[in-house]
Amino acid sequence: MIPAQTTNDFDVIIIGGGITGTGTARDCALRGLRVLLVERDDIATGATGRNHGLLHSGARYAVKDSESAEECIRENTILRKIAAHCVEDTQGLFITLPEDEEIGYGLDYQKQFIDACTRAGIKATAMDPREAIAMEPSVNPALIGAVQVPDGSVDPFRLCSANLVDAKLHGAKVLTYHELVEIIREGDTVRGVRVRNKTTGQTSAYFAPVTVNAAGIWGHQVAEMAGVHVGMYPAKGALLIFAHRVNNVVINRCRKSADGDILVPGDTVSVIGTTSTKIPFEECDDVRVTPEEVDLMLREGSRLAPSLMTTRVLRAYAGVRPLVSADNDPTGRNISRGIVCLDHEKRDGLRGFITITGGKLMTYRLMAEMATDAVCEKLGVTVGCSTATTPLPGSESSDIKEISKKLWKMPTIAQKASVGRVGTRASQIKADDRFERSLVCECEQVSVAEVRSAMDNLDVHNLVDLRRRTRVGMGTCQGQLCACRAAGLLGKNRLCVKKEREDLASFMEERWKGLRPVAWGDALRGAELSAWEYSEVLGFDKEDEQ
């Protein structure tokens, strides 16, 4: 069937609102293309928001995969400049423990590791155990050696949101909560997409000469919808978040990569991970962490920092990496975690369709650049990529203290926290009104003003979206009070109380999903209190006699 509408509304349609999709949308928009981004949920709901938040130095890959290592350190340096408000320079340690010696990863391996890092351009400095303990007091004191590398931490929600904000500032149209129902094909050419608005149920078609599949693991199905096959396999990675910042420096193991061997500090928490388990595609939409995985993370994590055994675990969560199976890889690359950019015209004879996948959070910008180059080649556009040098909105200045000082004479803790979250964009958060200064979320110091600003400017549709933009509900109380308060604020804006009730209930269910695998100790105590608060006080009960 030939679509009734054949004029192109856009130059490029991007499917997927993760970091790859939003990064590609930004790159395309900066090069002057008319961009449409479609996402079936909120931004950063897939693997983007479900990883360590590690700003890799590349050292992890140096010995076995020098190409990935070089990519990482290049992007590491770039992100520190263009995404300053999303990045924290924590530095990282690769530690050697006595048991590593027994399996051939002793101090000899450490030398090999440092050499490989140096060759890849990663500054790697050997330290003696005492220096390492002085630098990071939580580290396992049994260590026999350590190497310092330029690791850091990155907030993927912020990074994703900043890319989207910039794409929109450059004219991109964004449709979140729009589900792909069809890739519109005309013979051997992809013409556009048909999407269903999940809120209204309405279906609409959009057209562009090029469509980019940037849907992460769901890109497998997107490709199938277009009639081509990309051999992906979903690899689940489980992680645990601790309720406070145990370490200030990233701690890694200096040996072959294994489960639970990276501990990353980020904002007010620390994250341990991860695992790599192949799962069926059906499970990708609802990945859960098992008690065995929790126990494994704790056991391995406590080898990095012994105090993890007795630290409260805030949540367990898992993401799905979009790995491209090497045997099926038409580009012939044998690196399953490498970037894969497929021009389906060259590969399958399908015109107007590109898949960008593989890769990792760290290399999202490079992936976006590769995808955008491919788009431009198809469109005959010759504008070069500028994302390696153009700061993201919020990162025009990197000095948090200076930004705070410019905005307020005497910044409050909440104001400082919001500069940390949104960088220079904090100036747009209006808090002239004394009522706007009240805190919605006490654990994370999020004010009414910041919540309002996020609702007005950052495509927030519900409480879970709001959490991704502002950290409301991410703290130790896990939404016990703040979720209700935020629901009250959202309700005022939307004037639909019934929806608000459902929203609050589904927010708490979402929190419970991550809390349940780790609900013991203080977490169980908090869960009991929340259960009473929601059922007995608020009357949110399953049983409803009305």
């Binding site: 909440a414 004394r434 308060r485 608000e500 009473w532 007995e536 009357g539």
Partner: protein, 414 residues
Amino acid sequence: MKFDTIIIGGGLSALTCGIKLAKAGRDCLIIASGESALSFNSGSFGLLSRLPDGTAVEEPLKAIEQLPSSHPYVKIGIDNTRRYAASAKEFFADCGISLRGTERNLWRYTSSGKMKRCWLAMEDTTAFVSREDKVGDKALIVTVKGFQDFFPGFVAESLEKKGISCRCESIELDELDMLRSNASEMRATNIALTMEKDKIRKSFVKEISRIRQDEDMLILPQIFGYEDTRALEDIRKAVGMPVTFISTLMPSVPGIRTQKMLKKAFEAAGGTLMMGDCVTGAVIEGGKIKSVLTSNLGSYGLEADNFVLATGSFFGKGLASDFTKIYEPVLGLDVDASEKRDEWYSSSFFDRQAFIGFGVKTDNDLHPSRDGEAISNLYAAGSVLSGAESLYEGSGAGVAIITAMYAADKILEG
């Protein structure tokens, strides 16, 4: 130092037990460490609103017959439970807490405006005999501007379902600026403390009268009644229409008030309160507790003839857990709890949760045991006990009060 009875815990159960003993002339010490479930009380007490199989309960004292033998109400004997329940109103009235209720459950509002069953309602809590009852047709819902722990929109939606039209307003109060400057201070109890000042309350009420149109009922968050329940009547007289207080997020004003009044009653009866200390262990000899140790007193043991453990559930720290087990952290008592972590919870947050029913194992006289051996001069009372799914059943306060009275009588019979 030696007492007749030492009670560990400071919530509804501990205080009820302490008052009963002190009034009978016993030299009684309460050691309390911190928060109790009263801080999220809803202005009412529940005895039984739902049976474990989900059947709704109209007459709780009849329905207790259908509870399993492991339930505290059944353990102490159904007749005892009925007798203590019947004496509750008088008991609390003597402590200055006036409660309403009959043999049939009442209906009270929750914070979202939906109704829930309760057994006894406090004087300033609006409660109805029938779920269909209402006090008016046009409601004016007023809150304090900037107060985030009350949700007029939710309340309005629920009332409108009942055919009550609603108008929501918020009033600015300059006097609350002190609280506002530190945003986490804008809590119900802090506002209620400010509202205790006649002048402030009067200006608030005056503003309500000014914005009132033709409404015939007034709904306010429960940010009144810090010291006593007179505020409700005061406001009703001033605005000339019925007033309903709706509970806020915690801390609960009526809950904190009740706790204060019970403490006062306990001390007035001659009891000794030791607040902010926490029991760390006990000396047990020949199946009896000889003394308990506290963190402030160190190795100096506190002796008594009898002991009551009323430390509450997880929130009150009467129960604790790590990633392998549920345990009783104060005395290391035996517990009724599943050993598999997966069985502690339901997959939905809003479903009944098994862990709420976990607790200390006791015999029918409420004597707990350690390593299988009963401790004959120790009684457990309230939510530290196993066998009651208090949240699902709506039995939290009832179990706290009734088992405390039973334990007190056992000690008095002693």
